[in-house]
Symmetry: D2
Subunit: 137 residues, 4 copies
Amino acid sequence: MDLRPVGQAILDGQPFSKLVGVEIARFEEGFCELVLEIEERHKQHNGFVHGGVTSTLADMALTFAGGSVLQDVLTLEWKINFLRPGIGERLVARGQVMSHGATQAVCRCDIFAVTAGEEKLVAAAQGTIAKRPERKG
Amino acid sequence: MDLRPVGQAILDGQPFSKLVGVEIARFEEGFCELVLEIEERHKQHNGFVHGGVTSTLADMALTFAGGSVLQDVLTLEWKINFLRPGIGERLVARGQVMSHGATQAVCRCDIFAVTAGEEKLVAAAQGTIAKRPERKG
Amino acid sequence: MDLRPVGQAILDGQPFSKLVGVEIARFEEGFCELVLEIEERHKQHNGFVHGGVTSTLADMALTFAGGSVLQDVLTLEWKINFLRPGIGERLVARGQVMSHGATQAVCRCDIFAVTAGEEKLVAAAQGTIAKRPERKG
Amino acid sequence: MDLRPVGQAILDGQPFSKLVGVEIARFEEGFCELVLEIEERHKQHNGFVHGGVTSTLADMALTFAGGSVLQDVLTLEWKINFLRPGIGERLVARGQVMSHGATQAVCRCDIFAVTAGEEKLVAAAQGTIAKRPERKG
């Protein structure tokens, strides 16, 4: 099932996602692909993409992947390894569910920098997404 | 030694830090405190601070802490646990070096949401910052 | 309240903890201290304590700390940074709860190598411990 | 190239690996597979494999994978997510290099419990392995 309309509605409601400029390219059960066109505002002092941008993509791709199987979710934790400087035309973050039960999903995310159609892995993340507890009363 | 002028110069050269609105409150050997006044643009669809904002602060506080002892640095990796929703007037991120050698520093960072002067821990991070290798030739 | 008798009973029921030789020195609400006397069987090929031993202590100290506030628990995830080679007479692992709700605790653990009474930090860990869900029916 | 003889020699020199009973099934450039036959001594008080055993396998599989491309290595850091209780006849840990340069490798490891030939993912890890610095003088 194509969940992109659901994902787009969530993105549209997130001021920070719009500030950063994150777009959703694919969203289906257990998988999510986010795209960011690299612009000057995403950079740090040396011209590379700021770690906060890459981290924001990781946070979102892990959370969307988990949300695709658990619906309304909270991000519990994740870790990220930075492999290469973020240089290129765009970043593509692919998040996927590795395993999930009724209340939690463990997801991985790979983030690539794309230049002239060639993808290079720039960061790898792994973390836990939880179903938001229902309110009582 | 007060390293704030050094830190401020780095922040001023980072378009993404300015886009997010991160300020440096304290910066000395082995320690860094960053502050962010919470505004609408920092939020996600439920009114809480977006995980990408908290992550950006963690990335920066860890990196600045490591940079205070290693100078020019790369952020290798870190993990973050989200403890409470980010709600309040501002976020304060405190990063400190736990241990370092000549080429790497392991740092921790605690992030607090502040409301009416009261701090609540909202996230905790830990990671590795490396001295940037010198270029040869 | 001194929870050491509770902790000792758990340790006594764990064949692997006994194989490794982990002892519990302190155990109270939100805090746990484990001790391991370093012997030949704990080492790797270069004479340092094996990373698996240090990891086992981290896993246990985080889990016991979380268990001190949540009772019957599952270890969800953690990360560890190795700071120095494990050399000395014993390892001491101190785990503490940073924040917890009714179902989860986020804990940190510092592991020290002790030689002639002097402690050196050899590893630092952080992770999530969850209350074990009650069985239905 | 089959690196198993190299890996076996390292294992044979590690008292703790022998105490735990880790065997090397495959070892080649960028990849490592470790196997552990589950016995009573590997368990915790509830009959599941102890988290320290799973962690030891993760530590070793990540380190061997990194070592396959960097030779003499140090384990800098890693994180692990526990997905299911460790129950079965044996554990199989597969570590692989995601990306590496001259001095560091970022690796992932999946750990499976095997029962009657069926594998179930019980844990997932990710971390950084570094080339050991050469001694001067």
